[in-house]
C-alpha cells in the first residue's frame, strides 16, 4: 500500500496535551464521581437538557447565519476604520458575562434605550426576558467570534481563485456558489459548533435573561447539586451528560465539516471583487447593523464605568496585576498547547480525531465541576490557598484552549497541504521549519488566539472562588465582591478597567500576529 510517509511520525507532544486536557475535563468529573458516586438524572434534569440544547442550537444557528453577511461584507469592503472595527468586534466575547448582560440591558432592557425609543413612538415596550432574550445575549456574545472565524475562512481563499472568477466574468452569485459556498461548508459548521458548545455551558446568561425556572440549564442544575443539594454525585452525572451533548455535537460536526480543495495561494492580499449597486447597500447595512448591535451596549458600559472611577478601592490594582500575570501565563500555555495539537491534527497524525475531541471537550466543561474535582484531587497535596493562582491558570488554559485550537486548525491544515511536501523535500530541520514556515504562516491565527486567550483569562471568574484566600483575588473576583456589597458604580468602573485591559491584551497579541504574519 503506497501511503503518505509524512503522517507516520508519532505525535507525542499532541498526545501529551490531549491527555492533560482529558484529565482536566473528564478526569475531574471522574474524581467527583469517585468521591460521591453517580446518581441517575431526574425529570427536572431532562427538562434542563432540553432547554439547554434548544437555546444553544438557536444561538448557534442564528450567530452563524448572521455572521455570513457580516464577514462577507468585511471581507470584500475596504473602508477607513475597518481594522479597528474588526478588532473592536471581539470585545463582547471577552467581557465577564454579567457585565455584558448589563450592557445589553442598557440598550434592550425594560428601561433601555430601545424601549424608551419605542415608547416615545407610542409603541408597546418589548421584553427581553425569555428564550429570545437568552438567544439575543448569546448572539451578542458569540456573533463576533463566528464572524472572525468566517472572515479567516474568506481570507484563506487564495486570491488567484477570485481572479479566476473575475476573468471568467462569473456573476457574484456564481462566484458565491463556486468559491465561497465550499469555504462556508468547511468553516460554518465549525463556527456554529463552537458557539453551540459554548452555549451548552451557559449559566448566568440563561438564568438572568431566561425569566424564570423554565430557563434552567444543565450548568445551573450542576451548580444547584454542588452548592445547595450537597449532591456531588448528581453533579458528576450532569457534567457527564453535558460532555455527552458536546461529543454528540462534535460527532455531528465531523460528518458536516468537509475538507475543501483550497490550495495555498501565493500570499497575496485578499482581492475579493466588491460589486456595487444593491449589493453594496446590503454590505453597508450588514456592517452598520452588526457594529451598532455590538457597539451600543459597549458604549453604555463605558458611560456607566466612567461615572464610578472616583471611588475605586485601593486593593483593585493588586488584583489587576494578579489578573494580568495569570492572563499572560495562561496565554503562553495555551498558545503552545494549541499549536502542538493543531499541527498534529492538521497533518492528520495518528489519533487526530481524539485530539480534536480533547480540544473541544473544555467548551462543554463546567468550571464548577473542574474546580471541585481539582479541589478534591489536590487537597492532600497543598493548601488550597497556595494553589489558587496555579489552579486558575491551569483551568483558564483548559477553558481557553478550544478557541485557540479551532482558530489554528484550518490554517494548520492548509499549511500542511501547501508546504509540507516542500519542507520535507528540502529536509528542513525542525527549528528552521518552525521558524521559517510554521510561525510566519500561522502568525495571524496564533496572534488572534493568544489575544482571545489573554482576554478570556482576564475576564474569567473560573474556579478561583473555591481556592481563593485573603490575598489572591483576581480582578473579576474583585468586581464580583464589589457588586456583592452594593458598590455597583465602583464595580462598573472596575469592569471598564477590566474591559480596557482585556481589550488591550487582545489587541496587543492580535496586532503582533498580524504584524508577523506572512
Amino acid at each position: 500500500m503506497a501511503g503518505r510517509i509524512g503522517t507516520l511520525r508519532p505525535p507525542v507532544g499532541a498526545a501529551l496535551v490531549a491527555a492533560l486536557l482529558g484529565a482536566m475535563t473528564l478526569g475531574t468529573v471522574a474524581v467527583v464521581a469517585l468521591h460521591a458516586g453517580a446518581a441517575m438524572p431526574g425529570a427536572a434534569d431532562w427538562a434542563a437538557v432540553r432547554f439547554t440544547v434548544t437555546q444553544a442550537a438557536l444561538s448557534a444557528v442564528i450567530s452563524g447565519l448572521l455572521a455570513v453577511p457580516v464577514a462577507r461584507a468585511l471581507a470584500r469592503r475596504r473602508f477607513a476604520g475597518r481594522g479597528a472595527l474588526i478588532t473592536l468586534m471581539g470585545a463582547p466575547f471577552l467581557l465577564p458575562v454579567i457585565v455584558a448582560v448589563l450592557g445589553l440591558l442598557a440598550i434592550f432592557g425594560r428601561a433601555g434605550v430601545m424601549n424608551d425609543g419605542l415608547a416615545a413612538l407610542g409603541l408597546p415596550r418589548l421584553s427581553i426576558y425569555g428564550l429570545h432574550g437568552v438567544v439575543l445575549a448569546h448572539v451578542f456574545l458569540n456573533l463576533p467570534l463566528a464572524t472572525r472565524m468566517l472572515l479567516l475562512g474568506w481570507q484563506a481563499i487564495p486570491a488567484e481563485r477570485f481572479r479566476l472568477a473575475q476573468s471568467l466574468d462569473l456573476t457574484p452569485g456564481a462566484q458565491f456558489r463556486h468559491l465561497e459556498a465550499p469555504m462556508l461548508q468547511a468553516t460554518l459548521p465549525g463556527a456554529m459548533l463552537t458557539v453551540f458548545t459554548i452555549c451548552l455551558a451557559s449559566f448566568a446568561v440563561a438564568l438572568t435573561l431566561g425569566g424564570g425556572p423554565a430557563a434552567t440549564t444543565v450548568e445551573l442544575a450542576i451548580y444547584q447539586a454542588l452548592r445547595f443539594d450537597f449532591a456531588p454525585g448528581r453533579a458528576a452525572t450532569l457534567a457527564m451528560l453535558q460532555f455527552a451533548l458536546c461529543l454528540t455535537a462534535l460527532a455531528l460536526g465531523w460528518s458536516l465539516i468537509r475538507d475543501t480543495g483550497f490550495g495555498t495561494g501565493l500570499g497575496r492580499r485578499v482581492e475579493m471583487p466588491a460589486p456595487g449597486g444593491w449589493r453594496k447597500g446590503m454590505d453597508v447595512a450588514a456592517i452598520t447593523l452588526a457594529a451598532g448591535f455590538l457597539m451600543l451596549p459597549l458604549g453604555a458600559l463605558v458611560i456607566r464605568g466612567l461615572t464610578g472611577m472616583d471611588d475605586l478601592p485601593g486593593g483593585m490594582w493588586a488584583a489587576t496585576l494578579r489578573s494580568v500575570l495569570v492572563a499572560l501565563a495562561t496565554t503562553v500555555l495555551v498558545t503552545g498547547a494549541a499549536l502542538v495539537l493543531a499541527l498534529a491534527a492538521g497533518r492528520r497524525a495518528a489519533g487526530h480525531r481524539l485530539f480534536d475531541a480533547a480540544a473541544t471537550l473544555p467548551l462543554a466543561a463546567s468550571s464548577l465541576v473542574i474546580g471541585t474535582g481539582l479541589f478534591l484531587a489536590l487537597r492532600g497535596v497543598a493548601s488550597p490557598s497556595a494553589m489558587a493562582l496555579p489552579v486558575t491558570i491551569a483551568v483558564n488554559a483548559t477553558l481557553a484552549l478550544p478557541y485557540a485550537y479551532r482558530l489554528l486548525l484550518p490554517e494548520a491544515r492548509a499549511l500542511h497541504q501547501g508546504h509540507d511536501r516542500l519542507a520535507q523535500a528540502l529536509g528542513l530541520t525542525r527549528w528552521a521549519r518552525f521558524r521559517l514556515v510554521t510561525l510566519p504562516c500561522l502568525a495571524r491565527p496564533l496572534g488572534f488566539g493568544a489575544g482571545i486567550t489573554a482576554a478570556l483569562s482576564m475576564g474569567d471568574l473560573g474556579v478561583i472562588t473555591l481556592f481563593a484566600a485573603e490575598n489572591n483575588a483576581t480582578l473579576p473576583l474583585f468586581i464580583h465582591g464589589l457588586m456583592g456589597s452594593y458598590r455597583m458604580e465602583a464595580a462598573a468602573a472596575a469592569a471598564l478597567i477590566l474591559m480596557g485591559i482585556s481589550f488591550a491584551l487582545f489587541a496587543l497579541f492580535d496586532g503582533i500576529g498580524r504584524h508577523a504574519s506572512a
Binding site: R4, G263, G427, L428, L436, P440
Partner: protein, 232 residues
C-alpha cells in the same frame, strides 16, 4: 546509478511496476499518458510515496528508508516549489542548509546562483512578485545550490509557453551539467523529451519501461508509445 529493483507502487485502482536502471549523469524524460503513474514514480523516488514492494537504490545503496530531505534528491513539483511568504533569497538559503542559515558565505553563493539563472537582483522579492518563468528559475537556482545527484522534475514548467519552456529546459541542462546530476523529468510533450537530448522512459499500462535513447525510441516506437503518440 539509479536502480529501481522490482519496485511495485500500489494505490486503490492503480498499480505500477518498475525494474530498471538509469546511468549516472543521464537525462531522462518520463513520458506517458495521464494517470499512468509518472508523478507517483517520482514521488516514490523522492520519498513521498511508500513502495508496496521492491527497492530504490542510488549507487548501490538503498535509499527507500530515508526521509525525503535526506535522499540524494532534489524534486521540483508542478507548483508550490517556493514558500510564498519568504523572499527568494530565503527560499534559496533553504537549499544551502536545512536550518535556513543565511550568513555572508551563503549570501554570496545565492547571489551567484541568481546570476547564473538570470535572476540577478531579484533576491529580495517574494515569489508572488515574480513571473511564472522567474519562479521556475528560482526553483532551479535552489536545485543548483542543493547540488543533489538526482534532479526530479514533475512537470514544473507545464504552465509556461513554448519559448519560455525551451529556455527552462536549457537551464535544466546547464544545471545538470554543472552539478553532474542525473535528471528524471515528467512530461506529456514529446518535444520536451527531444529538447532534453538524452533518454526517454515510457510509463504506460502499469509499467515503467527501461529508458532508451530518445531519438532511437521515437524512430522505432513500441506499440505502447505509438498509441500514446497517436501514430500507431
Amino acid at each position: 546509478m539509479l536502480q529501481l529493483d522490482r519496485l511495485v507502487l500500489e494505490e486503490p485502482g492503480f498499480r505500477l511496476e518498475a525494474d530498471l536502471t538509469l546511468p549516472k549523469g543521464a537525462r531522462c524524460a518520463v513520458l506517458g499518458p495521464s494517470g499512468a503513474g509518472k508523478s507517483t514514480l517520482l514521488n516514490a523516488i523522492a520519498g513521498f510515496v511508500a513502495p508496496h514492494s521492491g527497492r530504490i537504490l542510488w549507487d548501490g545503496a538503498e535509499i527507500g528508508d530515508l526521509p525525503p530531505g535526506q535522499r540524494p534528491v532534489t524534486i521540483l513539483f508542478q507548483d508550490q516549489n517556493l514558500f510564498p511568504h519568504l523572499t527568494v533569497e530565503r527560499n534559496l538559503a533553504l537549499g544551502l542548509s536545512p536550518d535556513g542559515r543565511l550568513d555572508d558565505a551563503a549570501r554570496a553563493r545565492i547571489v551567484e546562483a541568481l546570476e547564473r539563472t538570470g535572476l540577478a537582483g531579484l533576491g529580495g522579492r517574494r515569489p508572488g512578485q515574480l513571473s511564472g518563468g522567474q519562479q521556475g528559475r528560482a526553483a532551479l537556482a535552489r536545485a543548483l545550490l542543493r547540488a543533489r545527484p538526482l534532479l526530479l522534475l514533475d512537470e514544473p514548467f507545464a504552465a509556461l509557453g513554448p519559448a519560455l519552456k525551451a529556455e527552462m529546459l536549457a537551464l535544466v541542462r546547464a544545471v545538470a551539467e554543472e552539478t553532474g546530476a542525473t535528471v528524471l523529468m515528467v512530461t506529456h510533450d514529446p518535444q520536451d523529451a527531444r529538447r532534453l537530448e538524452g533518454l526517454t522512459m515510457l510509463v504506460a499500462e502499469g509499467r515503467a519501461h527501461p529508458p532508451m535513447p530518445t531519438e532511437a525510441l521515437f524512430a522505432d516506437p513500441p506499440p505502447a508509445l505509438s498509441a500514446y503518440l497517436g501514430t500507431g
